[in-house]
Symmetry: D2
């Protein structure tokens, strides 16, 4: 019950000593653009002290340490920031990096990797079993099982003398329930749950955590949080760009697997089967211009899906999940819309409903739409908002990049921002029947123009579900 | 039930034609400093068109029209604003003013006054009974009855052919239940309730109206508004100045009559008798330096009083009324403090309770104190606030002076911002026993230093009543 | 707020001394069948001590005291009960009765009546002004004004030295808002509200009072009593007999004026206008066989009317009023039906909703329909009821006739079971537009067979309003 | 979420074919008095068809089949019931019984047992792996591990071809957390959870199940079920007899292990540690007269323990567990006491609070204590109850003995009335610290006289916890 306990508990395991970070797939795009830059930023902030940390790149390509370093150097700091101080840091950071070449399914490569890691650990004079090994799989899921087997057989920290071995994997975790469970089983036979760190679509997790705090740390939400008061809940992820060259990859997954499924991770109890009439799919015009996308593709780049939760608290309240690419704006938010005021003495229906909004993008904010008395002496009302714009309230607080934070969590052994196996399974159970219907083509994606709100049918679905848009209301961003 | 209906109904009575505004006590301080300037501002905004309006001053002093005009001219516009345009307006406004001299208890003066008014109405070519007469009593309450009788006998609009006669009076309305009821009866025999406009301590009324809108125009307050969720309610009026030369007058009333009693006007159902142990009185050191204040004065300049409402919704919730003079700050607000979070998983008790605050002074704002997730990736919490600062949100909206607005309401026949007789009676019923105990000296005022928070005993009483102050929290005013 | 206070207050007025009960219309049916028998029963129970009480009959017919006594004797006790003891009581009771003859609109008769009353009071050696005079108008409403004027002019208790004069009238009080207000005004100019006792359709009042106690004296109703939990409320008055010779009288009023309007007396805040589509009217076949009923009569003998209350607590909850004559059963009850269980884990929807029922007829009972675990070890559920059958629980408690009690209340000055003028007005305001539509014939009564449930359209209306009948459930009356 | 699903699922496993019921400890008291009579009753009701069922007794004693049959025959039917028909049934039932002798820890005996079972199964012409074997351990827990190992090694149904092997064990399951977990582990290594049926103290389970249905199958409990409305909950098990010859056994466990711990099985989320000041222990005078009870025994025969649940719904509501032996009455009930009525207009506080009571013993009933209007015309109130007495409502429904039902559940594979391992563990975690303090003697049992309510300190504790007893209220059992 105490959400802080986990953290304190995890402190009891080893928190210092030799730390080897092994980036598997070191020559690939993900490693280059995301993993190494994140490691570099952690290094600069002092979280990866050179006295303890060594970084290993591993991939199939034959190349020297310097070739790897040249490849990643440019991504560590944008050229415009290249002050002498930063250049010095880059250079020192790259001194920690070593490259090992090998295949992903043979013992030889991993035995060599283990030897290199051990050599470094030995130099650090660590006792056996007290070293920490973090394997970051910057690789496609198809090779996860063989790579995990190789690690298990050849590269584990030698005893449980306080040290550990941890595996970081990234989604996609399967394409449906069956493939996801197969992947989970294969990895699960090799590592137990506490050693596996699945990186979630970060934004959704952060939004849901914000919401948990709001709900459970504030007395005034207690009586509000139920079907009597809440009319509908929307979880929205809009992007204003398309697949941008990743069309071939994206086409195999689609917007539901890519984004929507993840929103559910905290709310997946008692979800009724999704009905086709509560789904609107879209595909933006131009999506198939990508040569890697088949001309017959039905893959949705936009989806609005209504979930119905069958329990005492939420029966009858639609949870509306919206995600899309190539739309007219970029937005990530949760919007809780309250019901109309019964016995409305101030005739405020026309002004719009109360709404509670937590926004993560474009800029972090929390606000409550409400009706207030017009300032002044007239007894008339107007819709306004109680507002907490983080940027304004917390000026100067630097919000770290998600990747940096997640790597740090892995080192610290804090799993709360990662996806548990049962969460993953539950989300697949809900979505797999729908996904199969889409894959079979029995549910079609409607075309929409890039740069628009998406298919008009989606707005119609929202309205049918009870969502009431406030017209004539414009949010005035507080000036800085 | 529809708060807007009254207004529409009132529109059916005469809203144009000759309008005579008669300021009784025209030579006094109140008229000079408040009434005439308010009339001037209404004039400048076009609410008192010269084609319809005439203004009459009446007082005992013998003087000419010009002498009256000279006396008030300086108060109409601060010299620093004296642009040629303003000077022109002042001059035009004063053209509408005529002075009549007479005593407050003889028919002659009022017959003369009536003649002057009628002369003007006749010039306007109005039919008899269609003229509007507004009598503003800028006088002490002791002469209200005789003045009202004189008006009734000599100065009424002649028929009910759409015109009207209205009386504006200002508090204090009596010193206790008996004297207030006597005053009400004397006036009530002469005028019916719809003709009498009692000006309230304005601030309290505005705060309470804000609260009514918040409560009844917002769905999310519906389930919150009761003893299950609300721990205590505070209504606070702090002033940072003392009696400033009005000590002799103030000493006859004290802070409870002057301020606290008025807060009640909307919440006076089912109030239990006030207990001495739920009252803290104070008198600031230096109060008796005013030569008009008796050296033995026990009159409170500070009071904290807890009201207990005996009904299903509020039993057990203390309503804490606080008012004081010569304190360390100036503040008018309603503060609703919610209960602690039960089953507190985020251990947010230490951070402080949720509070909903409506502030009228020093600057109008509404905010909700709540606990949010620290921005960033840590799962930790911090107290913050959802905020609506009117100045920031409604830049450029001019909030009119209370007096102007109230005069305008009187002309329009909108009584909702005024005190009804039954409200007045109910408030006196609650406070009279306490006031009599103070007058008898069985309840003592504690001394406190000017420029402080008031007697420490008041804070102790609040704590005993359940109010939990948040320590270490500082409200950050949004920057403009 | 304290419902017991009124009673205690009323004790301060005179409760003993000479008491004259004057039955106006003494020779009529109502007096014979209801008024005198009720007085007799009060006498037998000791509430009308012969040392204090005298009874006067007044009517236009010329007859002797004995002729009046002969006329009423047979109604005082059914012949089967005629024990010698009862016969003795009858005889003693009749000794208290005196007859006075006169017209209802001339001073002479009432001056004579006053003289007779005074003579008796004088014999009792009462001081002037200390006597009590209760005038019971067993007369049609059309003569109320003139009779009241005669009483006022000629028959009042002489001073307010603790004694009093009270008037009891019976409905109907007018035929619509205008006629009712006219009647109220005419009587109101003569007597103030505290002297007038309007007898309501008693059953409704008792049911509503039961409901008030249930609601406000039981903690468990507090959170249930609102639109979130209650689906609909039914107030039912079914009679299994027709107009039985009173058709001519009934035809002028109809079932809505006769019964339905009275139910409202406690719930008349904020009722929306009644819509035609939420009304079903019926007239039983055979109703027009009464020679006094016009062949073109559209007068309803059955009505189902849905009221909609526009406030925060009840918006959206239909209040269904049902009344009818010549139906298949006799029933007076209030039935509160709760909403369905959300997130229904026990699949109890099929078993029926929770209902709370207060029944006054055919036998007084309170019960709560609920779902329980089948007795035994199976985990299955069944609908049952928590039950309070008054007869079983309170065996031997004699429930007095309404008329007796109301006369006693009048003597005691307890007005809470009577109709206040503002209640009456409010009820008429709601129903008058509907009644005028019926009178104009724009709303038709549907024919139904006597001895049935009434028109099938009424059941359809209920279903449309959300009422869900439980099928297959049979209430098992507890055996004695 | 659907409580009926489990049952349907279990139907998919084998529900017919050869069924061997093996009673281990066949010569002991429990087998004789409880197990065999329960089997006989199931047989008589047709649940154990002779064409499918064979019963094996197993124990260390050397004896013949007939000697076992003679030993148990007398317990199968009370002599007074010995009609010829019953005698015939007894005789036929005993024809199904076979005795096998062997030790509880050697392979030989169990191999012999297996051979006998197999022989019978072979006669039934069942395919291997399709037979059902139910082992009922009518034995002390100390031999559970060795017996389970012997069964596992020697007596299992041979494959999972639809058949099964199930183990029934009875409490006590350990003496504290450590010993219970050890026992669970030892059995858990041999059988998985779906094969183990732990028989609970039946009464508590039934009561809690009744409560679950009441709560979740009735709409009107939804808004009531929380700290805002409920003041306290009592779960009471009173017995009016002492240890009666079982003192030696009982002394090792005491009332908390014997009874109280089991009540928790459904409510064990988030229970705070039990505080000594919220515990009252007692030991009745005469308890130590049993020669098997040590003279220094501190073992409680009475306990009142208050549990505090730390979550949003229940924080602040005491759950009061009461159990005792040798008291003045026998009672098993759950009593939910609601809070006082706020703003109590009917002054019903003096009459007592609303209570909802589910009683299992002495006779099954559900009732709601509430305040009603006195029948009749007085506006006064009285406490009464809405009542459902099962005996009256369900006359003629035979409620089966718990043991019969549980054996039938085992055959059917329905585990919902049994204790899960995690439930058991959670209950021990809560009580073990308290039990250790009692065992160490740091918490003393207070003496109380047999046949009383127990120590007066227990009533004082209840009052301190907020329980308000209704004085002057007597429940009137409905007459039959």
């Amino acid at each position: 019950n105490d959400l802080f306990t986990d953290k304190e508990d995890s402190d009891s395991s080893l928190a210092s000593g030799s730390l080897s970070i092994i980036v598997l797939g070191a020559s690939g795009d993900l490693a280059k653009k995301k993993t190494f830059p994140a490691l570099f930023n952690l290094y600069r902030q002092g979280f990866l002290p050179p006295s303890e940390v060594h970084i290993f790149g591993y991939a199939r390509s034959k190349m020297t340490d310097d070739e790897l370093k040249d490849r990643i150097r440019g991504y560590l700091s944008p050229s415009k920031n290249a002050t002498p101080e930063v250049s010095k840091d880059v250079s020192n950071f790259l001194d920690l990096v070593k490259y090992v070449s090998g295949s992903y399914d043979s013992d030889e490569g991993f035995q060599l990797l283990d030897k290199e890691i051990y050599k470094y650990e030995y130099e650090m004079n660590r006792q056996e079993g007290m070293s920490r090994r973090l394997f970051y799989l910057a690789l496609p899921p198809s090779v996860y099982p063989s790579v995990c087997r190789m690690i298990k057989l050849n590269c584990m920290n030698k005893s449980d003398n306080g040290g550990w071995t941890r595996i970081v994997v990234e989604k996609p975790f399967g394409k449906d329930l069956e493939s996801a469970e197969q992947l989970s089983s294969q990895i699960g036979e090799l590592f137990n749950e506490s050693q596996i760190y699945r990186i979630d679509h970060y934004l959704g997790k952060e939004l849901v955590q914000n919401m948990l705090v709001m709900r459970f740390a504030n007395r005034f939400f207690l009586p509000l949080w139920n079907r009597d008061n809440i009319d509908n809940v929307q979880i929205v992820f809009r992007e204003d760009f398309g697949t941008e060259g990743r069309g071939g990859y994206f086409d195999q997954y689609g917007i539901i697997r890519d984004i929507i499924q993840n929103h559910l991770l905290q709310v997946l109890q008692a979800v009724n089967p999704i009905k086709d009439e509560e789904v609107v799919l879209g595909q933006y015009e131009g999506y198939k211009d990508d040569p890697m996308v088949p001309q017959t593709s039905n893959t949705p780049t936009f989806a609005t899906v209504i979930l119905r939760i069958h329990n005492e608290r939420w029966e009858g309240v639609p949870f509306i999940l919206k995600a899309g690419k190539a739309l007219n704006s970029r937005k990530a938010e949760i919007r809780v819309q309250f019901k109309d005021v019964p016995g409305d003495i101030f005739k405020c229906k026309k002004q719009g409903r109360n709404e509670f909004v937590m926004r993560l993008q474009p800029s972090e904010a929390i606000y409550m739409k409400l009706t207030v008395k017009q300032p002044g002496l007239e007894m008339s009302t107007v819709q306004s908002e109680l507002d907490l714009s983080y940027k304004q309230r917390y000026q100067g607080v630097v919000i770290p990049e998600a990747y940096e934070r997640l790597i740090l969590d892995t080192i610290r052994g804090d799993q709360q921002h990662f996806v548990r196996r049962d969460e993953l399974k539950a989300a697949w159970e809900i979505f797999t029947p729908l996904l199969h219907r889409i894959d079979r083509g029995s549910l079609k994606s409607l075309p929409y123009k890039a740069g628009t709100r998406g298919p008009a049918e989606a707005d119609a679905l929202l309205e049918k579900a009870g969502y009431t848009q406030t017209h004539g209301y414009i949010w005035v961003p507080p000036s800085l």
